[in-house]
Symmetry: C2
Amino acid sequence: MARQATGVAPRVAAAAEVLRDEKFNARRIELAEAALETLGELGFARTSLREIAQNSAFTHGVFHYYFSDKLDLICCCVRHYKAKCVTRYDEVVASAQSRAELTEGFLAKLAATLENEARMHRLWYDLRSQAMFEPAFRKDVLEIDKSLEAMIWRVASRYAALEDKRLTTSPAALYALFDGLFQSALLRHLANDEKAIPDFLGEVRRVLPTIC
Amino acid sequence: MARQATGVAPRVAAAAEVLRDEKFNARRIELAEAALETLGELGFARTSLREIAQNSAFTHGVFHYYFSDKLDLICCCVRHYKAKCVTRYDEVVASAQSRAELTEGFLAKLAATLENEARMHRLWYDLRSQAMFEPAFRKDVLEIDKSLEAMIWRVASRYAALEDKRLTTSPAALYALFDGLFQSALLRHLANDEKAIPDFLGEVRRVLPTIC
DNA sequence: ATTCTTGCTTGACAAGTGTCAAGCTTTGGC
DNA sequence: GCCAAAGCTTGACACTTGTCAAGCAAGAAT
């Protein structure tokens, strides 16, 4: 009996704690998601906790309750953003049965991303730059960067495999190339350059055959 | 006599005005240069006019005297930064008599830049990201980006010409590649990654022969 | 039914922000 | 040498910022 009591009670307590932690974490993510709206609109430099709160259903105090400070909140945002981003092209990679199909699927997704998720992506570039100043961001940013590199590498590997070839460039160079092109296209697109997206797609189309 | 009076006096006045303008502009650049110190240290988001003033020999009021507002100051900084940057590799390009010489000169300059001018370059990436949010920056940033693309193109053209070959990639893709690699190396270098610079140099060394 | 904990709101605080006006000093033309 | 303009300093303003403490509401535990 005593055995059972000391065996079960802690287990229940532990389970309750896990549940509480999960709920706590779910709320953090809700708040981070709300914060991402404002961050994507204004950028890191111009975003304050109060502005975030006003553009959301929450009061500014909640953010302090769930996050130790502003950096903690934004780190959580960055980490959450990652999960959304990194699998973007995986479905195209999985379903494509030919180079042409993969190319078109990839290009279409790239264009759609530029068109519809420009705000989230400019935030990513903003935060990656912030990481050069703010050590607190570095770990997460470097990790995401690695994930994105791996994502591009998956697309390219499939592209090569579909014609039984091997990639001739390194993952780092390949990611640098696509990321650089995307970044430039995004800036031009945000500056209302009508040719930004077509030019970008043209570049990618021209570059793809040269990677293997 | 009347002719002479109305002919000379305005000319003198005009000359005086030009002189005044030049002096005014020289002072603006002095101030911009001082501001760049602090901006490079803290980044756009964390830099205030007062902080800039405190880290310099000027008082915060002077900045308001010479610049209509904060954005005006920072635009001036960006524009001034450009002039310094864009000719960085020209001497190497002009003097190199062989591919090996050009490669080594280019790599050495890249490494030195990463090592010694990390702060200025992270500021550039910061401001380029800001341009995605702040329309006032866009014109200057896009212009600098074009200049940097041209700078890379000059290096690559020379590299190709030294063995009588032609470049196979577009200026945009080439710039994207080098800029992407540089950006990633810079972040890693700032995060105290010892391998950042060697890895970067290795990538560039591997990539160069593939561009033509 | 009662305490106690958790989640959240509100209001306040000190520090810092961009901006600007009033005044001081220096300079250059007469 | 005098005076007006230019250059610059200082201090103040209205406002925003991150942070936090005091208090309220609701649900769980006893």
